[in-house]
Subunit: 90 residues, 2 copies
């Protein structure tokens, strides 16, 4: 829903995510791979059942699931067609 760089960091983005069960903030270390404005409106896979973790003063409530290529490049994962928010991965 929204994405912005976390001040004074190179790697971190603060993402506002509609999980289908709630709206939450997630801090993700993908700022070197994706521009924040390129993420708004896109579907992602989210691990929602993690302990909240404070990063740079922001409470991060989950993780974005990514694929890491051997080169180190990170790619977002998404359904092959737009899905209902809250679809369960398994």
């Amino acid at each position: 829903m929204a994405a912005e760089r976390v001040a004074k960091t190179k790697k971190l983005l603060k993402l506002t995510v509609d999980t289908g069960i709630d709206t939450r903030e997630i801090v993700s270390g993908i700022a070197e791979h994706y521009e924040p404005e390129a993420l708004v409106g896109r579907q992602v896979l989210v691990l929602v059942n993690l302990e909240p973790r404070e990063l740079k003063g922001i409470l991060s409530r989950g993780m974005i699931l990514m694929a890491q290529e051997p080169s180190g490049k990170l790619r977002i994962l998404r359904p092959d067609e737009a899905s209902t928010e809250g679809a369960i991965v398994g």
Copy 2:
């Protein structure tokens, strides 16, 4: 790499998958959601570190990770751009 229906079943497809580490057969219960010919050449997410399991006489060596919508509809998950086979999800 290849996909076909498992004889005498409604739900099962036998998929031949390049995991980046090997080529293996995976039996997946998605035949009511995807035609086999629609899957050939597509990238998918695979759980590779499971115990092999025999299904209808075929040794299935993994699972395809899917998203299930509240309606029950299953969707394949894939990277937002074509990735190197063997990219690690995490």
